[in-house]
């Protein structure tokens, strides 16, 4: 069975505009990736990691500088017409369509660009609006929708054409818990019920990637740092101990980084609650006493301490050297 997506030494370099004085940016530096049909595949990386560039190349919006990319077995550069018949794409925060059209008209319009028979499209749209709880909004103008409703409509736009492979770029970006949950459930259901369909998803939300994805690639600086199932990725940090500490606000946390036995650490302040959250990836448990002493020495109080099971965030911090925020 041919893979849904395959890239070979895929590279994309952005040259600066003449006279702009800008620098050459290597957005993708030789990416090798293979995504099988039926997978719900996640791409995780910080801003500027190359996720969107990769999606743009795979969706035929951008040419690679070198290397090859195949979608559904077709070369994105040479056979882009064949690729386009089989894909669709939805981005988070998208404001596509026309505000004067109703939700149903807007979705119908986009379905026509894929040659779907009008009545078939209308039936599908009604059914999907029902699934997403938007049936009562179908005759509302698009400009009257809330952010969450609009993003649900965007998701319907992507799926209504029944693509073989769908690219979802941060599909739940900025949505509330309920809207995100409905979208996540739909995505999982779509792949489960149709094993030949494939989803390539980028997300900032670790829990979302963990919950949804069969496999995840961690990307940073245009390179794939790791690619495996969420379970296997987490096992790569299982040798290390992860410890979370909540302490009263600490002004200077920089010293923790130099402690022997501390692999990585992050901290962030919640000024409203007066709490500093510290998170350590430890090579073993020996630095724990030093950490506690340093907290107390600085005049802070320990509010809570817990040893955590590894999460994708730990994997991410270990590989990228920083969190997503």
């Amino acid at each position: 069975m041919k893979p849904a997506v395959e890239t070979k030494s895929l590279t994309r370099v952005f040259e600066p505009k003449r006279k702009s004085g800008g620098k050459t940016v290597t957005a993708l530096g030789g990416v090798d990736l293979r995504i099988e049909q039926g997978e719900l595949f996640g791409l995780m990386g910080p801003n500027g990691a190359g996720k969107t560039t990769l999606l743009k190349i795979l969706s035929t919006l951008l040419l690679p500088t070198s290397g090859k990319a195949y979608v559904a077995g077709f070369d994105v550069e040479k056979d882009y017409h064949a690729v386009r018949k089989r894909i669709n794409m939805v981005s988070g925060g998208e404001i596509s369509g026309y505000g004067l059209l109703t939700v149903k008209e807007n979705l119908w319009m986009f379905s026509q660009f894929y040659g779907i028979k009008s009545q078939v499209a209308k039936d599908r749209i009604d059914s999907m609006l029902g699934t997403f709880g938007l049936l009562d909004k179908k005759n509302e103008k698009v400009r009257a929708l809330s952010t969450g409703q609009r993003q649900k409509m965007n998701i319907i736009r992507g799926f209504v054409t029944d693509p073989d492979i769908i690219f979802l770029d941060e599909p739940t970006l900025g949505l509330d818990v309920n809207a995100s949950r409905v979208i996540r459930e739909y995505i999982v259901d779509w792949v489960e019920k149709q094993p030949e369909k494939t989803v390539l998803l980028t997300t900032h939300y670790m829990a979302e990637a963990d919950e949804l994805c069969d496999r995840i690639a961690v990307i940073d600086g245009g390179m794939i740092l790791a690619c495996d199932t969420p379970g296997n990725l987490k096992r790569t940090v299982r040798m290390d101990t992860t410890m979370s500490l909540d302490v009263t606000l600490m002004r200077d946390t920089t010293r923790f980084g130099s402690f022997k036995g501390v692999g990585k650490f992050t901290s962030h302040d919640d000024s409203e609650k007066g709490v500093t959250h510290l998170r350590f990836v430890l090579e073993d448990e020996s630095p724990v006493s030093d950490i506690v002493s340093e907290v107390l020495r600085s005049g802070s109080r320990i509010l809570s301490l817990q040893k955590s099971e590894p999460t994708l965030e730990d994997v991410f911090i270990k590989m990228v050297g920083k969190g997503l925020d």
Partner: protein, 273 residues
């Protein structure tokens, strides 16, 4: 119908034309700015012509020309600038990944725009005819239809070509359209017969299809117009037919070039996307 390439593209034309057709019904404010407002500038010219004692046909020329400005405005703002706006709203990348010819998207915009603008122009013309008591003596309706269609195909073909050029040029579409508005009103003879600009100027202005289209329609609508004509109607029709083919072929090439360049430079999407 099976999902052949042709059917898919025809459906795309219909889909893209829809917002413009429905917009006409959904936003009736066009009746004010699309029909009544052009009458003000038309009225100004009418009074100037009456004051200087111009031939009575000039009033009719102005009303017809004033009504036809709607098409030029539509081509500039809703065809030429459209891909630029679509890029700004994020629609362009969705259009680009759709498995259809880019020409069918532009054709959809043109068909929708043509429907919308013909309604406006016809309303302005009707109001003008009524307000100034103009007598239209239509001698050859078939020729009028042919001239109108050839003018529209050539004009919207030009708009399709401009659409990709605007995107390639990468400047604010707003400024580009403003730049092309008033000079074309003048050079194409919207408010007077283009013949009076002199042969060479009129010939140069004929690259804008509405120049010859308007000249031919004036000859077909008004009895005294042939004396003010630039070229015979048949010649103008032949040139318009040629321009139609040239602009549509050029539009196809410029769209292909724009897409290729856009894909290699990343210009099809906004930076933040």
């Amino acid at each position: 119908m099976t999902d052949t390439w042709m059917v898919r593209n025809l459906r795309a034309v219909r889909g893209r034309a829809y917002p413009r057709v429905i917009g006409l019904m959904r936003e009736p404010s066009w009746m004010i700015y699309g029909t009544v407002l052009p009458l003000f500038s038309i009225t100004a010219y009418v009074y100037v012509y009456k004051f200087i004692g111009a031939k009575p046909e000039f009033v009719g020329y102005v009303v017809l020309g004033g009504a036809m400005t709607a098409f030029w405005l539509n081509v500039l703002w809703s065809m030429a600038a459209q891909l630029y706006w679509e890029k700004e709203t994020g629609n362009l990348q969705l259009y680009m990944i759709a498995p259809i010819s880019r020409m069918s998207l532009l054709a959809g915009m043109a068909v929708g725009g043509l429907f919308e603008t013909t309604t406006r122009a016809a309303s302005t013309l009707a109001l003008g005819v009524f307000a100034f008591g103009i007598v239209l003596t239509l001698t050859d309706p078939l020729m009028l239809v042919l001239v109108f269609l050839a003018t529209m195909v050539a004009l919207y073909g030009m708009g399709m070509m401009f659409a990709s050029l605007y995107l390639l040029f990468g400047r604010e579409a707003y400024h580009m359209s403003n730049l092309l508005m008033e000079p074309v009103y003048f050079a194409s003879g919207f408010y007077f017969p283009v013949r009076y600009l002199g042969f060479w100027t009129a010939l140069g202005a004929s690259i804008i299809p509405i120049t010859l289209g308007l000249d031919a329609m004036r000859q077909l609508f008004f009895e005294g117009a042939p004396g003010d004509a630039f070229l015979p109607v048949q010649t103008e029709l032949a040139v318009l037919a040629t321009l139609s083919v040239v602009f549509i072929v050029l539009a196809k090439f410029s769209l292909d070039y724009m897409e290729k360049l856009g894909k290699s430079t990343g210009r099809l999407t906004l930076r933040w996307q």
